[in-house]
Each structure stands twice: as C-alpha cells, then as structure tokens.
C-alpha cells in the first residue's frame, strides 16, 4: 500500500473480540471463563495476603475480621471464589495436558468432513467440566445444607 492510497479503516475487534465469544465453540467460552476466573483469583490472592496480615494488629482486630467474614454476604463471595478456583483448576488441568500436545490425536491427512484436535479432545473436556461441576456442588453442600 503506497502512501498515496486512501486510508484503510482499522478493523481490529479489540476487547470485544476477546470477550464476545458469539457463535464460536465451547472451548472459546472456556477460554473466557478461565481468563475471568484467573483475574478474580489473583485479585483475591493479593487482598487475602493483605487481609490476613491483620493478625499483626492483635487478637481483637483478628477476631473482628473473622466475624465480618462469617457474615452471609461474605460467605456467598467465598463460595463464588471456591467455584472460580475449582473451575480454573480443572480447566487448567485440561490446558496443561492439551497445550503440551496430549489428548489431541495424531496429525493426519485432512479428509472432509474435517475433524480437529479441538473436537477430538471434547470428551476429555466434558469429563473435566462434569467433575468440576460435581466438586463445586459438593463443596457448597455445607453452605446449602449446614
């Protein structure tokens, strides 16, 4: 493109392309969930380190903090964090295996209708997500059925 030609319109999707998974596959939504849960977890981890440092302010300060965290809104947030951590860990196991090339099958001559490594590891994805769902539900049992 020479400098005399009229300007192209920049057509990059930007953050919308990152966040809006639209009609793409299940794995694209898992990617979004993994990112969001990861960002939530790291924000929580930093806050947790700062908040538990309150022990250095003495027994009363610590007990006050624990009483606050035992209140219902915090219990809900705690459960959501647990769910995020379980999802992130289970999806992370899937990524750990597949990003090193396992469970994706072997390269072979493409014959229509094409199969892809993404579709070939779908059974693994379903098993992992089912396990994650089970752990999230079981883990919340003490919250739902105290």
């Amino acid at each position: 493109m020479n400098s005399n030609s009229p300007k192209s319109y920049p057509n990059r999707l930007g953050l919308k392309g990152w966040v809006y998974a639209g009609r793409y596959t299940f794995e694209r939504y898992l990617y979004l969930g993994h990112r969001l849960s990861g960002m939530g977890l790291i924000a929580y981890m930093v806050l947790h380190i700062i908040e538990t440092a309150n022990r250095m302010r003495g027994v009363e300060a610590w007990q006050g903090l624990m009483a606050l965290f035992a209140s219902p809104p915090f219990k809900v947030v705690e459960y959501l964090l647990f769910a995020a951590a379980v999802f992130h860990a289970m999806n992370g196991v899937r990524l750990l295996l597949t990003e090193l090339g396992f469970f994706l099958g072997k390269p072979k001559e493409p014959v229509y209708p094409y199969s892809s490594s993404v579709m070939r590891h779908r059974p693994l994805t379903y098993v992992i997500m089912a396990l994650a769902g089970l752990i999230i539900i079981l883990g919340g049992s003490s919250l739902f059925f105290p």
Binding site: L41, M45, I49, I50, T52, A53, R55, M56, F82, L100
Partner: protein
C-alpha cells in the same frame, strides 16, 4: 529460549499450587471434616498462631505464596501485554509486575515469619 522457560515454569508450579492450596482449603474450610473442630475455632487467633508455629507450615506457606504469585502474575502479565502497547510500555509492564510480585512476596513472607516467631504471652 526465555519465553519458553517462563511458560514452562508457569506450568511446573501448577501441581505445587494444587496440592498446597487444596491442603489450605481442607484446613481452613473443612476443619470439621479433617480436624474435628468447628470452622470458627479453626480461624481463631490462638489456633491460627499454633498452626503457624510449625516449621512445615512456615516452609509450605512460603512455597505456596511463591508458586501462586508466579503463576498468577505470569497470567496477568500475559493479559495486559496482549493489549496494544508500545515497546516502552511493554517493558514497564514486565518490570512493574516483577516488582509488585517481589513486594507482595516479601510482605507475605514477613507475615508468615511473624506468625512463626510469635511468642505466646508477649
């Protein structure tokens, strides 16, 4: 080779986090199941200090802190650097994240050491 090494380490700390964080969850959230004490008791100041005075807890907490911070901040660096940044801004993000991680690690290690060396009765 550098980016490959950074990513490999991001993967290598995963089992460390899974084991240590799972244990942490069991101790803190499932104390009635694993330790025969109520959740409130497990989080009380006295029990927390008592737990923190063991050498195993001291070492493992610092290991979990390092592993969790590295894994999380490598991911955060990836997310921020995927935005369109100038080379100078990209370098700033890298340096800033390392400094932030070192600061939080230092702070967390200090709190863990404080607990480990806490003298009951002052």
């Amino acid at each position: 080779m550098r980016e490959t090494r950074l990513w490999s380490l991001h993967l290598l700390v995963i089992p460390i986090i899974v084991v240590l964080l799972g244990t942490h969850f069991a101790i803190i959230h499932y104390a009635p199941v694993f330790y025969g004490m109520s959740v409130e008791e497990a989080r009380s100041f006295e029990v927390m200090i008592e737990r923190g005075r063991s050498i195993a807890q001291f070492v493992l907490y610092i290991l979990l802190l390092a592993a969790g911070l590295y894994h999380g901040l490598y991911g955060l660096r990836g997310i921020i650097r995927e935005l369109p940044l100038t080379p100078a801004l990209a370098k700033l993000v890298d340096v800033g994240i390392v400094l932030f991680g070192l600061f939080i690690f230092g702070f967390g290690t200090y709190v863990t050491w404080w607990t480990f060396s806490f003298k009951i009765g002052g």
